[in-house]
Amino acid sequence: MGNKILEIKNLHVAYEEKEVLTGIDLDVIKGEVLCIVGESGSGKSTLIRTVIKDKAVKLIDGSILYFGQEISSFRERDYQKLLGTEIGFIQQNPWGAFNPIRTIEAQFKETARSHGISFDREKLKDIMDTLGLKDTSKILKSCPYELSGGMSQRIAIAASFYLNPKLLFCDEITSALDVSTAISVCEELCRLKNNMMTTIVMVTHNLGMASNLADRIAIMYKGEVVEEGKTEEILRNPQHEYTKRLLRDVPGLKAV
Amino acid sequence: MKKRIAKIKIIFVSILALLLIFVTCFAGLFAHNDPYATNALAIRTAPCLQYPFGTDNLGRCVFARVLYGGRTTIAATFLLVFISFVIGTVVGMIAGYFGGLADRLLMRFADITLAFPQMVVAIAVAGILGTGMTGAMISLGITMWVSFARLSRSHTLSLKNEGYIQTAFFAGKSDLYIIMIHIFPNLLAPVFTNALTQIGTTMIGLSGLSFLGLGVIPPKAEWGSMISEARAYIQIAPWAVFYPALATIVTIIVFNYLGDAVMDYREA
C-alpha cells in the first residue's frame, strides 16, 4: 500500500523503566488528519516521542516504518535531518519548543542552519500573521520566558509550519490556548493540510475537537489502540466500552 | 527494580561499615601489640609476622595504631555528626513549628554561618582553641549543624499544614507532644540521610585538621596525625604512611558510598 506514510506495528515501549505502550498497531495514511484520543497516561505522548526517537523512551519491541523504511535503521544524524523538515513535532508544553532564555531569532537561525536553509524573515512574517502573531520583529527579539503560553505555542506552531514537514505531530497543542485562538490554530492546521498536503497526527483528550478536525480517529486506552476508524464510524457506532464512555461524556456528539 | 538494587547496595555497604566500626571498636581483639608501647629495638621495622603493618619511628606497631586510630577518627566523626544532628534538628523544628521572630532570628543566624568559608573558620577556631580533638570538633561543628537545621525546618513547615497535625493541635495536644510524636518521626528519614552523607566530609575535615596538628594531641593514635608524623621518614618506612592512608581512604569511600546508596534508595 503506497499511501501509508507511517506504519506502526506491534509497538512495545517503556518510559522510565515502565512499559507504557503494550502493542500498538496503527497506520497513518498520506494526506489525512488522524486524531489519537485518550486520557492522560494512556501513552499517546509516549507514542509521539517514540517516533521522534526521544532518548528518554526505550523501544522494547515492534517497528515503525516511515514511507516503508524502518526508522531505527536510520543513522542518528540522518534521522535528525529528517526531523523538522519531513517529520514535524509540536509539544504540549507551550514553552517546550525553544530555549527559554535565548532570543527566538537566534533559535530560528539555528534551526534553519541545521537544515542547511537560509532564514527567510518575510516567509516567517507571513506565517506568523496567519497565526495571529503581530509585530514579528519584536517577537524575534524576545526570549520565550517573557512571552505568554498562548504566544509561545503559536510561535512553536509557526516554527513547524516554516519547515513545512510532510508529517506533523501535534501533542495537545491547544491546551495552552484560549478557545478563539485554539479554533484559529485548528483552522490553520486544516489549511496547511489542504494547501501543502501535510499529513497531521493530532493527539488530544478532547473528542469534541477530534470529531471536528479528524478524517480518522484512533482511541487509545492504557497503552493500546482499542479502536480506530473513520470519524463518522467511530462516532456513530463505537465498539469499545471506553469509546462509548467517552462519547457519553461529550454532550451533543451522540446525536451525530 | 531500581529500589531493589539500591536496597541490596545499602545492605552490602552497611555490612562493610558495621565491620569497620566493629574492628575499630574492639581493636584490642585484633591487635595484639600495644599501640603506645615504644620499642627501641624495632624502630621502622618492615611489615612482618610480629608487626603486620610494620612499626613507626618509635617502634610502635602500625597495625595496632591504625586500629586504635580508627576508633578515634570514627568515634569523633560519629559524635560530631550526631551532636550537629541533634542541635540542628531541634533548632530547625522549633524555628519551623513556632515561626515568628524565633524563626527569623535562627534562620538569619544560619544564613550568616553559611556565608563563611567552613574550613577557613575551622582552621582558625581550632588553631586558637588549641590542639585537642574537642577543639577540632567544635571548630567543624560551628557550621555543620546549619544544614540539619535548614532541612528539618523546611520539613517541619510542610508537615505543620498536614491534616493530622492540625487535628492533633485542635484536640489540645501540647506542642511538645506534637513535635515529638508527629513531626520528628516524619522528618527523621531525610535528616538521617543528610547525616549519612555528612560522615565522609566530616572525616575528611577532622583528619585534615589532625594532619595540620590541630586535632589530636600526640601520642594519641589518629590516622591524620599518623600520616603527618610518618611522612617525615616516608622514604625509609613508607608502610607507616600507607596503612593509615589506606584505612582513611577505605573508610571514607565506604561511608560516602553508603550515603549515596541511601540517597538513591530514597529517590528511586
Binding site: I52, D54, F98, N99 | M119, V120, V121, V125, S207, F211
Partner: protein, 307 residues
Amino acid sequence: MIKKLIKRIAGLIFILVILSFLVFLLMYLAPGDPAEKRLTSQGVAVTKQVLDAERERLGLLKPFLVRYAEWLFGVVRGDFGVSFKDDMPVAPKLLQGLKNTSILALSSLIISIVISFTLGIVSAEKKNGIADHIIRVFSFVSNSLPNFLIAVLLMYFLCIRLSLFPVIAKGDFQGLFMPVISLAIPMTGRFVRQMRAEFMAQLSEDYVTGMRGRGVKRRFILFNVIRNSLGHIFTIVALQIGTLMGGSVVIESIFRWPGIGKLVMDSITARDYPVIMGFVVIMGTIYVLINQLSDVLCHKLDPRTRL
C-alpha cells in the same frame, strides 16, 4: 534595581562586620597570653612589671569594644596591626601570601573546571554508557580522597620513587605542579558530580526535546544546554571556593608553598593573633564577595532567577 543593589551591599557589609566581630571575640577569649608568650620566646625573664608593660604596649589592657573598634577601623584602612612575633606590619605579609596562594588556587581551579566541564558533558550526554560509568567512579573516588593524602602519596611516588620532582617546591612551574594537582583532584571529583547533575537536568528539559523534534543539530543543542547551565555552574564553583581555601592551607603547609595558608599555620603555632585574624577576615571577605558576584552573574545569565 539600584534599591536591590544597595540592599545587597548593606547585607554584605553586615555579614563582614559580624565575621570580624566573631573573629575578634574568639581571639579575646582564646587561652594563653600573647604578651607572656612573646616575652618567653624572646628569652626575657617574665616579671609582673615587664608583663604589664608589654601588655600595655600591645594594647591588651584596653576594654574589649575599644580594642575591637580600633582594630576594625585599622582593617578598613588596610592596616591589620603588627605581628606579635616580629613587630612587622601584618598587611604586607598577608598580601604577599595571598598573591602566592592565588597563583596556586587559581591554577588548580582552572584545571579543575576545564576537566570537570568536559567530563560532566560527556558523562551526562552518554548517560549510563561506559564513559559515564568510568567518569562517575573516578569522581566518586577522588571526592573521597582528602587532599593531604593525595599530596603525601604524590610526593612519595613522583619525588622519591620516580625522582621526577624536587621534594621541596620552588616557586617555578615544577614546584607548582604537585600542589596544584593535589588541590585539583578532589575538587574535580566534586565538580564533575555537580556539573553532570546540572547538565542532565538541562538535557531533560522540554526545550531539548523541542529542538530535537525540529531537527536542530546536536552541536547547537549542546550549545544551548551549556549556555543554560552556566549560571548554576558559577554558583557551584563559587561555593567550592571555601573548600579550596581550606585545602590550600593544608597543601601549602605540606609543600612549604609561601602562601597565606602556610603563613597562618606558622602564626597559629606562634599564637600570632593579628595574622590569624587578618587571614580569616581576608578569606571571609573574598568568599562572601565571590558568592555575591556569582549570584549577580547567575541572574545576568539566566534572568529567570531572582536576584
